[in-house]
């Protein structure tokens, strides 16, 4: 089990040893109740809660059922913060990437995003050449690629 894996709703887990009515080596899908508490349901539809008291024990007894889930977790761990970054910057910059004010630059939203991507690629290249492995430029680059996808989608919808 990855030491960074955090169980969440939808993850398929395998119980590595029998506990209560749960069968060893059976796969269960984690569910989440209205209060955000994770639980798994056995064949008899009894809920086995991941309560605060037992969560530490249970975490030692479950693991992602397949390598896919562990990979999915890794992808989520990048995309989750990226979404937060995009939403925060969108609020801070007033949706300027998708709806540019066009005071100095008269280019389209898509062209402006391409220019920003070039800026980030130039910066990233410069950082890597100078041995600076800061992730900020990489996050910005990913963010602008997402914005480019949105802009292209919106343009095709409006065409």
């Amino acid at each position: 089990m990855s030491s960074t894996w955090t169980p969440k709703e939808g993850d398929v887990v395998k119980i590595t040893q029998a506990i209560a009515d749960l069968t060893s080596n059976e796969e269960y899908t984690l569910e989440e109740d209205s209060e955000g508490t994770l639980f798994i349901t056995d064949d008899a539809m009894d809920r086995a809660y991941f309560s605060n008291e037992t969560v530490t024990i249970l975490l030692g007894l479950v693991k992602p059922a397949t390598a896919y889930n562990e990979f999915a977790y890794k992808v989520d761990s990048i995309l989750g913060p990226l979404k937060d970054l995009l939403v925060a910057k969108n609020a801070k910059y007033g949706n300027s990437a998708l709806e540019p004010v066009r005071i100095f630059s008269k280019a389209s939203a898509i062209e402006q995003i391409l220019v920003r991507l070039d800026t980030k690629i130039n910066r990233l290249s410069n950082n890597l050449q100078s041995g600076d492995s800061k992730n900020d430029s990489l996050d910005d680059l990913l963010g602008y690629l997402v914005l480019l996808k949105i802009a292209i989608k919106e343009e095709s919808q409006n065409a």
Binding site: A107, N122, N126
Partner: protein, 82 residues
């Protein structure tokens, strides 16, 4: 008093521009990779971003945003100087 403050502000902006020029790469050596637009467009987009930032902040903007804006305008002038 005005001249003294002018010297302080301009020196700070000059120092920041030189630092960023080294840290992020020179704007005059900007490489077009995805965009077909000239390097000046990169600065114009950044200037528009700063203007939007000031407009969106409704008075609660970081003071540095003004220095960034002036910095980009100066860089635009330096490119036109070539």
């Amino acid at each position: 008093m005005l001249e003294k403050n002018l010297d302080i502000v301009l020196a700070r902006i000059r120092s920041t521009l030189i630092f960023k020029n080294k840290a992020y790469g020179s704007v005059s050596e900007f490489k077009q990779i995805l965009s077909v637009l000239p390097a000046t467009e990169n600065l114009k987009v950044s200037i528009d971003d700063k203007i939007t930032r000031i407009k969106t902040a409704h008075g609660s903007e970081d003071e540095l945003v003004y220095e960034d804006l002036v910095g980009y305008l100066i860089l635009l002038l330096t490119l036109q100087e070539k």
